[in-house]
Point group: D2
Chain length 383, copies 4
């Protein structure tokens, strides 16, 4: 029996709580798990495999990288400081293994997988090349880049090409493949390429992954504290390489990378082969209310829930006889939305199984090719 005048009482009561002179509560140290479904036979691990620290031109101490990754919900990070570029060298001693060595115990305590890597930082070609799962970064500090890559390969490293369309090396933003890359590829010394670096997507390198059997990667290349570049708490996640691994371990990540079992997550964009994207999207979007009673020419509302942390936008590819349906539908992460089904004419009595042809506008199985998704609904009409 409360109405509008009750606000004042409430307000007064609330005030008293605020009147105490207590020390303000600190930010809670917490991890926000990222919900992306596994795919059959594999766990979906969220990895950032290109990260900098004060040991090259980054702005944070290596252990901070483990803390940031833990809080953001990642599974694994690779420390990949530049071998050839160390603007802090006057103050920070050059030792290419140190960022890994410092971050590793911090990661261990938080159950974050930390991977030793280095960025071979050269002009184009070959541009910037990351080698991860190294055993000794120091040995890659060579004059000739061929030697550095050869050494990484000898250490069993997974080797990938960074930001091939980076505007500092490709002023028009177009990624170009050079003979040097063919040479590396044929020698088995190039295993992947960044399809996304930071917030940039390179359609050219996306195409190369299928053509040349390269693993696709998506990394932050973060230099600053992560919160200066990503509004993580508001859902603005860094780009991630999704790795489909046999288990949650460094070895399993390495095996999956060499097997090219990866996909890209960058903002809302999910990029990868259909064999990985289909199970992720299918397990994410659930028809929670899909059997509808339509009386005559009524409208009814189906309901779809998105179980993942990736918002999906569906665009209809075609019509369904007898029913008006929305042209597009966005299902935000973790939410449920309505899908309106409007009978165009008197619906015949009985049960009608519909299959609504959509494509997922933010799930790319090839450059310019979106994943198709057909949603089943059942309409019943009483006689």
């Amino acid at each position: 029996m409360r109405s509008m005048h009750h606000w004042l009482m409430l307000t007064a009561a609330g005030m008293l709580a605020g009147a105490a002179f207590a020390d303000p509560a600190p930010v809670l140290r917490a991890r926000t798990p990222i919900h992306i479904p596994d795919v059959p036979g594999f766990v979906t691990l969220k990895c950032d495999l290109h990260i900098h620290t004060v040991f090259s031109d980054g702005g944070v101490w290596p252990s901070i990288r483990a803390e940031e990754a833990w809080r953001e919900g990642l599974d694994a990070i690779a420390l990949t400081d530049h071998l050839e570029y160390q603007p802090h060298a006057a103050d920070v001693a050059t030792n290419h293994n140190r960022s890994f060595e410092i971050a590793k115990p911090a990661g261990d305590e938080l159950d974050i997988i930390v991977i030793r890597g280095s960025e071979i930082t050269r002009g184009m070609p070959p541009g910037h090349i990351n080698a991860i799962f190294l055993t000794n970064s120091e040995a890659l500090s060579t004059t000739n880049w061929h030697d550095a890559i050869q050494e990484a390969h000898a250490q069993g490293a997974f080797i990938f090409w960074n930001h091939p369309g980076w505007d500092a090396q490709q002023p028009d933003g177009v990624a170009r493949w050079y003979p040097e890359h063919t040479e590396l590829l044929e020698a088995g010394m190039l295993h992947g390429v960044e399809v996304v670096n930071e917030r940039s997507y390179y359609p050219e390198s996306h195409a190369w992954c299928a053509e040349k059997h390269l693993a696709m990667l998506s990394n932050s290349d973060i230099h600053n504290p992560i919160h200066l570049d990503y509004d993580v708490r508001e859902g603005d996640a860094r780009p991630m390489t999704l790795v489909f691994a046999r288990e949650r371990s460094a070895d399993a990540i390495k095996e999956a990378l060499f097997a090219r079992r990866t996909a890209v997550l960058s903002g809302d964009r999910l990029i990868g082969a259909e064999e990985y994207l289909r199970p992720i999207v299918s397990a994410s979007i659930e028809v929670v209310h899909g059997t509808l009673n339509v009386h005559g020419r009524d409208r009814a509302q189906a309901q779809l829930t998105n179980r993942s942390d990736i918002p999906f936008t569906l665009v209809r590819r075609g019509d369904v006889d007898g029913f008006s349906l929305p042209k597009t539908l966005t299902i935000p992460a973790g939410k449920t939305v309505l899908l309106s089904v409007q009978a165009k004419r008197e619906t015949p009595a009985g049960r009608h199984d519909l299959l609504i042809p959509f494509e997922v506008s933010n799930a790319l199985i090839a450059p310019d090719t979106r994943l198709h998704l057909d949603l089943p609904l059942t309409v019943t009409s009483a006689p």
Copy 2:
């Protein structure tokens, strides 16, 4: 290979996106599911069984109540306009069934269960009494409150006492039990009582639930549009009666209410019998990283994830021999936190199974009695 000066480039790129003169995007019509685990044998339904509209002294049209409930993630609502108080009567015709009749089809379209109810609005005693699962509210419009309750009972209604400690009827905020309530109880015409109304908790009525075998209820008693009183989008949910039902249907809710299978959720507070709270809390809090290697006198970090939308705060009830542990631990809804385990002395080699005695400070199984929760951890120490 980006560092701080890169911000400007990024900023310029982002700007262009904003430069277009497009119509602003509307608020998405979406439902936010509420994650609270089921209990064995029953689904946990989120219900608000005390709601007003313009048909008594509320501020919204009845169909809006279904939309609000759908968006907030509720399963069921009861429309319970006052029978005796209608400040809008000069404009809105008196018909005590109308708020239900208008809200029902709106709920049906959204798959929200809408229950017909009325608030019998009298001085204390007996105060304000809700009757829900009525078949005809009009018949309760009687001079004598005994007759109204008798009629509700004859219709098979579930009958409960609202806000027994409401300060307008109990200036000291203390809920008092009157002979009239004993009379109703003994006649089988009082089945429940609000333990929470709006944001107020009544410890007295909490105690009565066990003593007198009453169902405990927690309702919003909302009069305004819900967003004027609750910052729903920021996680400020209305109070809810959790109903443990055999299925998601109106009949099942009715059966569960008469069987007293309910609990209270109000803000962070979970209130109810241990038989319901224990499975909810146990299914909510998962030890995701609970096997720790401790070398000598090291510290190691276990990790706990809260699978529910209720934040839980654990307070340690006792010590664990040989280890320092945090006194309290808050696990926000949907997050993972660390539980630090610090060896006080050299840990003997081998495997040590610990059971950490906590109580859940925001889970109340009786007034002033909190749910105990013993968390298992395993510590291993290499020889």
Copy 3:
């Protein structure tokens, strides 16, 4: 002397605060003032002149509209329920003055100006016509729309055409001017037109305002509780008609409307005559750090602050000799951003006054014509 391990201590301390079993604090009843500069000689009033309630097809009681407007920071609202469309008529008695009569005292208590209006709701032409500053809405309840408008005019009303491009009346979304509108205009019975309704902008009606000397309006046409359609707390404001009035009063608003002293605010879009937009933008964007020392070919950073609640995006219209400057620059509401000034060559010693030619991409002084804004900076270079 605190480092990372200190988090646990902090966390424990914070926890204890949360452990108490206090009633949750209510939403504070508060108004968020909207900061938009005044223009010379006038105060800038934020008005929503097209609003519905349960007295036609809206979802809230009229007094709620005053509360919503007060909280959102508006100065004035007009209640404009449909005269011809009352889907709630079976329950709510038809009285076209009632929504005003109920909202007015609620507005008075909150110092919100409430204006009596009605929506004359007809097919196209003339479509839907709002009349505000009526003395008696009932008298407009006529069969012939000419009579209704004539009566409004006789009462001294300000009369404007609503959503001329509404897709239910113009399926292609294009606003069309009919002979009936010419007739009204020439009879002095059409004084304004909505350039924005809800989230839709009509460039055609924008053009008419200058051509035909009509006041431009921007209104919500809100039917639901405002928070169902606008995420007000997150800065998603309803569209507003900015009225440049001699004082904050109903009479002054009426005088300003007849004098066509209005502009449109819709999302980030500010639309109006240059004479109003220039002083608003100039008073909003302040160069807070505009004297820069450039040594040789250095870069220096100017700083711009946006004093208003409207984010502005600047796009550079031309070059400044000798300096590289950003192509675009967004200044969020209430924030300060950097404007990078990079010398292209050795800057001659001395003081250089620059004027950077921008246009404001979200300030429209005519359809497709943006406001120009030249920002002054001073660069000094030591010899």
Copy 4:
């Protein structure tokens, strides 16, 4: 003429905007100014004078500290790495001037004042002592702490005692004054003390400021990237020393510190001498609607606006004859709230000037002494 079914159309339109496959927009690099009024004769500068970097036990490179401070809206920071504690010394060369030398040009570009400091890090007594406005930090690297402070003094430094109640040095959290501090004070080598460090308030050191004529300080002592410890974007600001300076310059800050013209801002808590707090609070809280018409025994609502970024809570100290008034009132930062004035009896005709006696519960002019604030209102009653 839109009602609930219109949502679907809107939703479809919004969707299309999201369908494009554009690179996600980056976090905007922006500064959020902090609004705290100036006091007569002085500008109010927001300073954090206790900050760490990788050059002692911090987690970020010094230039990041300037960027963080700029974004958060600060005016000045002091870099105060430990002289005696350098856990990164194996990798980062020991040079106590470097954190300042690196942060200074970064601050210059952003117009942030960067001050050279060092933390003399000793057991208690004297505990940890900050010296700022040094000319050469290296010279403080001495065996005996007396020598270090003597050298700081010789360089003209402002010297203050950090976190005197730090639990690592005072297990009961109580700050204690030692003979060594008397010695420093009497030698003119101790000029201030932290009343707040991080999120802890020390009432003992608050009392010392008045007793011993010390400047009160409030600093973050930040080691991590700021966003790991403060949720800055959500309004969770670091603690600040408010410095009342003749102008915005390093010299003016130094002069003001030696003149003890400072106050403390920590969370919502404003602490300082009445001569500074009164003008800040008076300029912050504005009665925007303070002349009320009361008819008979009516209620009327005054309105108060908080012009600052500090929320204030008022608690009434006494009664006003003839009127009921709220006991407490919170005015959030930048918001307007209602102050309800309810006539207890028939108000005599005429004009009544009221003065409502409040105290500001979060403005402390001495430990346990809150600032008094009498708010003027005018009530008029027609005969």
